[in-house]
């Protein structure tokens, strides 16, 4: 219908090809680790921290901090993509795979549900299909760059789901709840996309 729009006088700063190939549409690389949170950073003492798996009928598994620390940990190096446009490449994390946590629930006879809701200190929530947190795709991370995860980055423990926009990687995670039906989480209720695939640029509700 019309000529594609061109911004007069804009040249831009292209990334080297190897980096550009790892950046989803609309993203730019940052060496920093920006912090984005909707409210004050919660600070839960490790002595009172626990992690719950919860089914429709109540908690099905609970780990205190020491028990959680004793679970097998994995090291992963992944690229992360924030909906606010920054991406950070080759970030190094350590944590417990969600597969391992769900195996513990399965051992207690808990049947899988099609969705999970992540719940955090401070009231934050985010919703995910079960298929996106299983099969080696998600972790509960407790270390970043070899050091305990800083509170402003979600410490003591945050969800890590690197193949989705980073708001899905809930900070200050305390609970995963098995859900029969999908329920919108926090940002998903405030106009952000329900699924959030960065490679399809699913930033906001209504994006295809």
């Amino acid at each position: 219908m019309t000529e594609p729009f061109v911004s007069r006088g804009f040249r831009g700063r292209r990334q080297p090809g190897a980096t550009a190939a790892r950046l989803p549409p609309g993203q730019y690389e940052t060496p920093d680790f920006p912090v984005l949170s909707a409210g004050p950073t919660p600070r839960t003492p490790l002595a009172t921290w626990d992690f719950l798996l919860r089914g429709a009928d109540g908690p099905v598994a609970r780990w205190a901090w020491d028990e959680f620390a004793a679970l097998p940990h994995e090291s992963v190096t992944v690229d992360i993509h924030c909906v606010t446009k920054w991406s950070k490449l080759d970030t190094m994390w350590e944590g417990v795979s969600v597969d391992a946590l769900l195996a513990a629930a399965a051992a207690r006879g808990v049947k899988p549900s099609p969705y999970v809701l992540a719940l955090s200190d401070g009231g934050y929530t985010t919703n995910l299909p079960l298929a996106d947190v299983t099969g080696g795709k998600a972790w509960v991370a407790v270390k970043f760059g070899g050091a305990p995860l800083a509170p402003e980055h979600g410490g003591p423990a945050r969800l890590l789901v690197p193949h989705l926009y980073f708001w899905k990687s809930a900070k200050w995670l305390r609970q995963l709840r098995f859900m029969e039906h999908d329920e919108a989480g926090f940002w998903e209720s405030f106009g952000y996309h329900n699924y959030g695939d960065p490679w399809r640029e699913q930033r906001y509700s209504g994006d295809p």
């Binding site: 594609p4 729009f5 061109v6 911004s7 007069r8 006088g9 804009f10 040249r11 831009g12 700063r13 292209r14 549409p25 609309g26 993203q27 730019y28 940052t30 060496p31 920093d32 680790f33 920006p34 912090v35 984005l36 949170s37 909707a38 409210g39 004050p40 950073t41 919660p42 606010t84 446009k85 920054w86 401070g122 009231g123 929530t125 919703n127 402003e152 039906h181 999908d182 329920e183 919108a184 989480g185 926090f186 940002w187 998903e188 209720s189 405030f190 106009g191 329900n194 930033r203 906001y204 509700s205 209504g206 994006d207 295809p208």
Partner: protein, 270 residues
């Protein structure tokens, strides 16, 4: 106001499918120099669906070979203003902000989409008191709230203003770095229910009577409404400032659920 707003669901509801937020071609109708490093773009946006104070837009630049860059910028204008105002701080090592500051001029066009964000928002019907804490260019979405507070229907009369008293604490390095200096001074002078306090962390002009240090507990205790007044609190600025201010407000007894924050890192808005 707009359907975008009416459709906002509560957390826990079934995910809704809404129309996509469309890219629109805005025209720059005026440019205002705010500081040596920042200017405001005043935009005419055909079909703009309306926004709430505190929301932002995505801006997309396209080079002639199709290369694109996107960034988010907070809206500085009130929902009552027919033009959309974006105030952009020039980051010397940025890709987009130098273009918006140095190259773009009146008559140019700019692609954007929005409004975006439904949490860091305020309007007069939410009531007060209103406490705004800004660091540097973090004042932009808070200015939209103050402009809305002044321009909203019915807010010209004093009883309406008394129902939503507001305070802004604004931290900047130097006086010359303060955005909207004249307008903030004018708004506060004309309105006894609005208090504006500045703190200058690096250098104060001769005869300066405002604060002259980073925002700290004593300053917040002096400026902020007591927690018992249950103010709506909005904090926006660089990450270390927001972390410190939000944590201190909680220590002072403010309900964390009423302290809403927006943070940007060193490259967060480039």
């Amino acid at each position: 106001m707009s359907s975008v707003i009416a459709a906002t669901p509560e957390p826990g509801s079934a995910p809704s499918q809404r129309a996509a937020i469309a890219w629109r071609l805005a025209t720059v109708v005026d440019v205002v120099t705010e500081t040596p490093r920042a200017r405001t773009l005043l935009l005419d946006v055909p079909g703009w669906p309306g926004h709430r104070a505190g929301q932002h837009v995505d801006v997309r630049l396209t080079a002639d070979d199709g290369y694109q860059a996107e960034r988010s910028y907070s809206i500085a204008s009130a929902p009552e203003d027919p033009r959309i105002a974006l105030t952009v701080l020039r980051l010397d090592d940025g890709e987009v902000s130098p273009y918006l500051n140095d190259v773009l001029r009146s008559g140019d066009r700019l692609e954007l989409r929005g409004p975006i964000g439904g949490y860091f928002v305020w309007n007069v019907s939410l009531g007060g008191p209103l406490l705004l804490v800004a660091g540097g260019s973090g004042v932009v979405p808070l200015m939209a709230m103050l402009r809305h507070r002044a321009a909203a229907p019915g807010m010209a009369n004093m009883p309406a203003r008394h129902a939503v008293p507001a305070r802004l604490l604004y931290s900047a390095r130097r006086w010359e770095d303060v955005f909207y200096r004249a307008e903030l001074t004018r708004l506060a002078e004309a309105d006894g229910t609005l208090e504006v306090a500045f703190t200058l962390t690096d250098e104060a002009p001769p005869g300066w009577t405002g604060f002259g240090r980073r925002i700290d507990r004593m300053m917040l205790a002096e400026v902020a409404w007591p927690p018992a007044e249950r103010p709506h609190v909005f904090v926006c600025g660089p990450t270390p400032m927001v972390e410190a201010v939000a944590a201190t407000l909680v220590e002072l007894g403010h309900d964390p659920a009423r302290v809403k924050t927006e943070r940007f890192g060193p490259t967060g808005g480039s």
